[in-house]
Every structure is written in structure tokens, then in C-alpha cells.
Symmetry: C2
Subunit: 342 residues, 2 copies
DNA sequence: AATAGTATTGCAAATGTTTTCATAAATTTG
DNA sequence: CAAATTTATGAAAACATTTGCAATACTATT
């Protein structure tokens, strides 16, 4: 039972089955208050019986919203972003939107391609991670007048509305924490900053903060590692076996910090007695490592949820007003850092 | 420059600008070989100048594929699935498809709702995680004749084509590894199995394998924890402080195993000397923990990539043929397990 | 009971594309 | 050079909806 013969079930099939006009069926969905309750019941029964499912493509063509939001992230499978995606997804789902997701692997040209693809699907908005995008992308967004949003980063100068944290501040907080604890020989492990403004902002702020206290980082104590525990571990192993080992490691994010922690353990160094380690991010799990990782907490869930909420508001509002939100950062001192002053 | 006045740019605007008919513009996109190269050039120039972007909604309405595939996962932000999502996304992207993503938090009714939502968007296929779905979902899929695929699990009896690993086997392999090492007092930490056939299959296979060797697990050595490092750590702490501590812990997955590892470290137990720990999954990072986690490797990337490839093939093929693929498992012995036989 | 509303429904046009069919132009063939 | 192909283009119908407008039926008012 259900699903009539082979034919497609569209709104006119339903109309026929309920002995009304297609317009009335359409109205039952879109303006139920305009149709007689009795008729509505008939129609719903027909819908049920035929297994009719609305066709958003047809609606979209008509100028209605598509009900989709495109999100383009650097990568999906790094703890960093998967939390934001989850929160964002849940949040827009509440407002009835579906998520189109794509990743570009830190390649801004691919990011452009993804945004284009989403525009073909007539998404109601595009959310991007970070503030650094190709000119082509920016042009595309303004030209097509598509609602756009930058997630994860916050900056006053952002051309796009944004919801996120100030990465300069994140870097500064991390540096200041170590400085306060008396560290002067500080090693730095950051990812490639090209096309990654998060990392870039953090790193430059770290240098600024250290510089203000007259601390400089020798070249052999500053190294690069991608956001991968194993590669960060390798990089940290190299750094920690240089002649004059630093007393603290400041890492571009928690994944790297975790790698550094494992490297230290591998070398038999006691953390935090022989070496302090601080990360940035406070990802799921950072609290649970042994010892618990000291880090600058970036509220990923908050950011994702807030971004989704504000963005859908923006999209559905008649007179949308611009917004940008700076989410608060916090230094979470756990067990991987300690004061040198003893 | 570019973007003419305020008006919408559609295919007829382009046609007008290039002084051809809309049909020709459409053909330029869909069957370029049928149109004169000179005309094509004119049209492309017009497209460029007007900033025209094709409208897939209109195409879809016409019966063309929407170019989207819906993927419904339990959660996005657990390492378990984020890797599969990443690989699947990349894989279908190569075939020109976009990913609609949703999560249901292990609630099969929400899964149904998500699938429905995707059908409204006229996705070209739906991929689900696992083999256990609500009747409503199964009915919906067959009724609507939508290509569907189960990812992550493999089973002969699956009503849906599937690409994944045999979780029974995974559980069995883990149990056998511990048995071979001589362990008889084995603790089990698994997530709630309700609505999670992966966990359920693994757990029942573990019991079977242990039972075959006459090993049984006392109630106080079998506990539940969700896929969360911190909660697993709590559960493990409780389990490890029972009067007669087991010599080995078999964990439902690597996240739990990692939590167990941290718990052991917190209690001052040496792994693997005082306690062996084995996980299931081999997630990113499992190799890098200190000590490296012994686990049953489930090739998430492979599964995601293969699933995407086969599924898009299936969808685009004229005479699609059914497929199901069982991905190989492997016991990766690292440093968290050791033999009791000394 | 006639008038003015109001509630309910249907008709038809519009949305942006693709594709079939027909036509015109160019090219090949005998 | 005429006939037969082939190539290139356009006209129009079709796809599944929504919505403004018009028509009808019903209710309330005097």
C-alpha cells in the first residue's frame, strides 16, 4: 500500500487524489491558515497515501529559499573544525536549513571552486573559515550578493561579517602565560602560515608579546609542523634535541601540543618539570591527556552554534542587519605548564 | 565592471548578450561539441561578462541529477566519523557531486527526518552509517527508489549495499589478541549498544570469542562509556579500582581506549606491564599516543573513499549493478598490550 | 432581503533550464 | 550543379512549484 503505480508523485497527483487544485495543495504547505481545515485534512491524507515529498528544487526555482547553507572548511577530519561543523550543522538544522559541506585542504583556489559550486546549488548563504580568501572568492561573493559569513576568526577589519575568536589575542595570551611563569627560552611549533591566517595571527602576536619583554626566539627553536599529532611529534623531537633545549614550548594549536607532549614523554622528559607546554584551542580531549594540557580555550562549539544561529537569522530576516561577534578566550592552566621561579 | 545593472542573470540574459538563443547557451554547457566554436567563444565571453552562474535547481527540475549526495552520520565531531566524512566528501567531489551532511546523534528517528529532508532536496543518493535503521527509513528508501548505501559496516545480510568492515570480526580479533597473550581477566568498556549496531556487533563477538575459550567477564568488569575520552576515563577509573583488577582492557573503540590509557596513567599503573589495553579503530593519533595504542585497524579513509567512488559510479551508471564491499581488518600490535606468559 | 464583507478555491502566468523537433545553412557527393 | 548529408541554431514544450488575481460561496449587517 502507498506509493501509487510507477508514476511520479507530484503536487498535481496529490491534487487529483484529493480532488482539489494544485494551488490548494501548495497552499496547504505554505499558508495552511488560508485553507479550510477539512480540505487540509483531505490533502494530508492524500499526501500520506501517495508518499509525496515536496520538491525543493521546484520551490527554489520559484525564488523561494533553497534551504541550504554552504560551509567551506579547510579540513573536516581535524578536531579543530569537526567541532565547529557539528555545532554549526546542529544550529542551522534547528532553523530548518540543510548543510552543504566541502573542504579545500588549505588551498584558496579550491575554496573558490567550492563556493562557486555552492552558488550553482543556490545556497542561501556561504560560510567560510578564516578571514583570508582569494580575491576571486571575495569578488564572487559581493558580485552575487550572497550572504556570507566568516567563522572561527574575529577581526575588526574583516570585510565579511564574522563570528570567532581573535587569534592575535590567542597568541598573545599563550605567550604571556609562559612569560608570567618566568620562561625566557621558548620554543615555537607552528604550521605553515601561508593561506592560514589563524596560524599567522597567532604567531605574529606571540613574537610581538615576547619581543615586548625582550625575548627572542632563535631560529633552531622555531619550527613548522602541520596539524597532525605524529608530524608534530617528529618536529618536537627534533626541536627538543637541539643543543640548548628551551624550557617551554608554545604550540600553534592543541594537536601540535599533544604531539609535543608525546615527544617529550618519548625523550623521558618530565612535563611540566623539565619542560612546559602550552597549546591553543582546547580541543575535545585536551583536558584528558595525562598530564592535562594547558591551553588557550577557543570555544569552538560556541562559535559554531552562534554562527549558525546568527547566520540563519540574518538570512531569514527581512531587513537583515550586519553583525560580527568576538568570542571570548580564556587561558586554561592545567598541568603542562609550571613556573620557573623556584 | 561585470554584473550588469540590478537584473538577474539567467540563461536568457546571456543569450541576449551573446545574440543567440537560450537553447544554444544551454547546449554550450551540456553538449559543447554540438555548437560552433566561434559561437561558443561569444557565449563564454558573455557568461564571463555577466557573471552568470548556472542554476542547478532549474536543471534538477528538469530531471537532471541534482549533483548532491546526502550523508547522514551519528556525529560529525568524533574522530571516528570525521575521517570517513572527509574521505567520502573528497571522493564524491572528484565525481562532481556536492555533499549534504547531517548528523542525528544516534537517534534513528532523527535519522529518518534527515533522510526525508534530503529527499526534498532531491539528492541523487543517500548514504547512511551502519546497518541498523528505523523501519520508516527503510520504507522511505525503497518507496522513493532512491539509491542508498550503508557505510562503515559490512554484513552479508545487509538489505542495503554496503561498504565497510565486519564489526563482529573486529571484536573477535581484539578478543583473540588478548587471549593469545594469555589474558583471562579482561575488562570491557563499550558504549551503549542500543541504536549502535557497530558497538553491538563488536561486543557480542567479543563475548563469543571469550566464551569459546571459557572466559567470562564478571559484571563489575564490564562497563559502559560513550565515545568520549573524558567519560571513558571516568569509567575506566571506576573499573580499574574494583577489588580484583583485570589484566587487560578491551575497549569499544580507540577513543575509549585512549581514555582508559589516561586513567591507567592517572592511577600510576604502567601500561602494558600492569595492564594491557586494546582498542578498535586505529584513529588518527592512536599511533602517536605514548605508549602507542594496540588496536584493530579499521581503514576509515579507505572505506570513505571507496564508498564515495562506488556510489557515484552507481549513480551515474546507466545499468547500475549492486555492490557490497568488505574492507579488511588488521590487528595492529603496538605498545599497550603484552604477553602475560613470563 | 439586499449589501458588504470574508473565507475558500481555482486559473493561469511565471520561475530557469533542457531537449525534441524543425529549419536553415554549409558541405559533400555523384 | 542538383541532391543528399551534415552542422548549427532556434522555437516551443516540459519540468514542479508558487502566487496574484478573479470567482464563488458563505456570513454578517442593516
Amino acid at each position: 500500500m502507498a506509493n501509487f503505480q510507477k508514476g511520479k508523485v507530484d503536487i498535481v497527483a496529490v491534487a487529483k487524489a484529493a480532488k482539489v487544485s494544485p494551488s490548494t495543495v501548495s497552499r496547504t504547505f505554505n499558508h495552511p491558515d488560508l485553507v479550510n481545515p477539512a480540505t487540509r485534512k483531505k490533502i494530508n491524507k492524500a499526501v500520506q497515501r501517495l508518499g509525496y515529498i515536496r520538491n525543493r528544487a521546484a520551490q527554489t526555482m520559484h525564488g523561494k529559499r533553497s534551504g541550504t547553507i554552504g560551509l567551506v572548511v579547510p579540513t573536516i577530519n581535524h578536531a579543530i573544525f569537526s567541532e565547529v561543523i557539528q555545532a554549526f550543522s546542529d544550529s542551522i538544522d534547528k532553523a530548518g536549513f540543510s548543510l552543504l559541506l566541502a573542504s579545500h585542504g588549505y588551498d584558496l583556489d579550491r575554496e573558490y571552486a567550492m563556493v562557486r559550486k555552492f552558488l550553482e546549488h543556490r545556497v542561501d548563504g556561504v560560510a567560510l573559515v578564516g578571514l583570508e580568501h582569494s580575491d576571486a572568492t571575495n569578488r564572487l561573493i559581493t558580485q552575487q550578493k550572497i550572504p556570507a559569513l566568516a567563522i572561527w576568526n574575529y577581526s575588526e577589519e574583516s570585510p565579511l561579517p564574522c563570528v570567532g575568536a581573535d587569534n592575535h589575542l590567542a597568541g598573545r595570551l599563550a605567550a604571556e602565560h609562559l612569560l608570567e611563569l618566568g620562561h625566557r627560552d621558548i620554543g615555537l611549533i607552528f604550521p605553515e602560515t601561508q593561506g592560514n591566517d589563524r596560524a599567522q595571527h597567532r604567531l605574529s602576536a606571540v613574537h610581538d608579546a615576547l619581543g615586548e619583554q625582550g625575548v627572542s626566539v632563535p631560529d633552531e627553536h622555531e619550527t613548522q609542523a602541520p596539524y597532525s599529532v605524529s608530524q608534530a611529534k617528529q618536529a618536537a623531537l627534533a626541536l627538543l634535541t637541539t643543543p640548548k633545549r628551551p624550557t617551554a614550548l608554545l604550540c600553534g594549536n592543541d594537536v601540535i601540543a599533544q604531539g609535543a607532549l608525546f615527544a617529550a614523554q618519548k625523550l623521558g622528559l618530565s612535563v611540566p618539570d623539565d619542560l612546559s607546554i602550552i597549546g591553543i584551542g582546547d580541543f575535545k580531549g585536551s583536558a584528558d591527556v595525562e598530564p592535562g594540557l594547558t591551553t588557550i580555550r577557543i570555544p569552538a562549539e560556541n562559535i559554531g552554534a552562534l554562527a549558525g544561529e546568527k547566520f540563519t537569522d540574518f538570512i531569514t530576516s527581512d531587513d537583515p542587519e550586519h553583525f560580527s561577534i568576538r568570542c571570548d578566550l580564556e587561558c586554561v592552566a592545567r598541568q603542562t605548564t609550571r613556573s620557573l621561579a623556584t
